[in-house]
Symmetry: C2
Subunit: 200 residues, 2 copies
Amino acid sequence: MTETATARRSRLTPEREAELYAAVLDLLREVGYDALTMDAVAARTRSSKATLYRQWGGKAELVAKAMRHNKPGPDISSVDTGSLHGDMHALVRSQDDCAIEQNSALMRGLAMAIHGNPDLLKAFRELIIEPEMVEIRRVLQRAVDRGEVRPDNPAAAYVLHMFIGAFVARGLIEDQPPTQAFLASYIDAVVLPALAAPTD
Amino acid sequence: MTETATARRSRLTPEREAELYAAVLDLLREVGYDALTMDAVAARTRSSKATLYRQWGGKAELVAKAMRHNKPGPDISSVDTGSLHGDMHALVRSQDDCAIEQNSALMRGLAMAIHGNPDLLKAFRELIIEPEMVEIRRVLQRAVDRGEVRPDNPAAAYVLHMFIGAFVARGLIEDQPPTQAFLASYIDAVVLPALAAPTD
């Protein structure tokens, strides 16, 4: 972030910023990304469009920042239970079923839009995917250091793929939102066995 | 299918039916499900809306039937290589990269719509998900019979979840379409180790 951007950002209190992000996510769930306009965000939050553009640059960055900000539960980086099994289950328990379902609804609303909007894909990858990957790599590195995961296990590159599958497919296949119980079962059945597999 | 429905359906030649389905999928990729109208299908295929409704009942069933009909490659039920590893890799090889990418694009176009349209979700589940599940269960049962998969392995319930994750996450995380090579690597790293895991 440049000094100018920092100075500009500081005009908003953290409370006001949180309020803005919450309004953006509400709108996103209501109308989807394509129909979400900066006008609607400005109206709902009683701010000027000029302020929104000055603070965030554009719709894609505003939406990705809002998603990143409202990521529920404790920071994944504070999780360190001493075992891969414990860490994975702690991650799932950090979101209650309501938060999980809200995140799923947001992801569905964005899935189509992301592929048609390079700006949104870029913001989404930088602000959501990349930080998740960094934390997953940290959890896995500890598991490798403890000897729980082989350093060359190819499943390590696919942890986020496995989780995204659980989130997306649950609604399509079982017509149910992903829940803590479902995700815990999926971790034990799929994620941990794949990561624990011996490699040649 | 009732006798009346059979009689009605028989008015279309298989070639004409295939042409109609191809046009529906083209429109779906171009405008998405919500913006796809029976008027547009009728115009593009030079048929009457009455014919479309008489044959398929509605947009949801027409779209799901078109997706089912255009499923590329040999029928999964004809695959029987003698090993789970062979069967899984044969399934991936049955679609070339172009077909995989086209299917991914269709799925993205439907992901949002499916959750907002109970008719589409129902048709999608009956015509796409259920037949896939039947075939996957058949492949898995043979693997159980051969002693490759424990009959109580919990990953068996999640094979489609794992694959959907590979399809969806590839674009989000790596900004690349899923390819045969990627899916083969994912099968070896995730699907087969999870299915081969010993159970307690």
